[in-house]
């Protein structure tokens, strides 16, 4: 694997309020790494969904946990991995919702992981040393 040209680490605590720091980081990286402006919204959305899933469902206690994000850019490939020490859970196994259903039959919710998969080019899950690692990959077209 080639060495990434840029990397950036971000640690967030398991609080929904941390989403503002996530959004700020994405804005900063867009400028520093000269990413297309059109990438900001889908990247932010995919990472928000991944992060909120961890905050809302991964932990069985009320303690503070750190969720580690690692951004890297290599050529035109942007990769973000999200690591948490919550219970083992592979979101990629969740069944996609049927988005063709009429409104009355649509469940409220259940779109988050589906949107991650639609917005990113690759979504990969691994359980490594008692941590969940979700890796999102996006090929950038300028």
């Amino acid at each position: 694997m080639e060495t990434p040209e840029h990397t950036h680490s971000l640690q967030l605590s398991n609080q929904i309020d941390e989403l503002s720091r996530l959004a700020e980081t994405i804005d900063q990286l867009q400028v520093q790494w000269q990413l297309p402006v059109s990438l900001v919204m889908p990247l932010n959305l995919a990472l928000e969904e991944a992060f909120t899933n961890v905050v809302n469902y991964a932990y069985d206690d009320d303690k503070q946990h750190l969720i580690e994000l690692e951004f890297s850019l290599s050529g035109d490939t942007l990769t973000v991995s999200i690591r948490d020490d919550g219970r083992a859970w592979d979101p990629t196994q969740k069944e996609d919702p049927d988005v063709s259903l009429p409104a009355g039959d649509r469940p409220i919710g259940g779109l988050g992981i589906f949107l991650i998969k639609k917005l990113m080019d690759k979504v990969h899950y691994q359980r490594i040393e008692n941590k969940n690692q979700l890796t999102l990959t996006k090929h950038i077209s300028q």
Binding site: L19, L45, E49, L101, K118
Partner: protein, 109 residues
């Protein structure tokens, strides 16, 4: 997120401004529910100033749709920014909602 409501003719216009993310969605849902409590016959969400949405925000639109359908009211959405329109398309929401390019179109439609 800032939410402004105003009445125009027989229509209640709810303007959503800013980011509709998970940190904002609870307060936004409460405000939208307050607007719906008056059981308006016609409701338009003006999204011209809404520049971000996540699944927690989409949820609010779906809840509003269910409530308006239950009260036999009409719900329209106008002025979605292109990046948000893409999210509506992906989610199948573009097929569920009556969507308009401009507020005037939504009022007339």
């Amino acid at each position: 997120m800032n939410i402004q409501t105003r009445q125009q003719a027989d229509c209640l216009i709810v303007a959503l401004q800013g980011r509709l993310d998970t940190t904002q969605s609870e307060a936004a849902e409460r405000q939208v529910n307050e607007a719906l409590a008056s059981a308006p016959a016609k409701l338009i969400f003006d999204c011209s100033q809404m520049d971000y949405i996540s699944s927690s925000g989409l949820r609010i639109f779906l809840i509003a749709h269910k409530k308006m359908t239950a009260s036999s009211g009409s719900l329209r959405i106008c002025c979605l920014q292109p990046s948000i329109r893409e999210i509506f398309d992906m989610s199948g929401f573009s097929m569920i909602f009556s969507m308009f390019e401009t507020l005037d179109d939504a009022l007339a439609g």
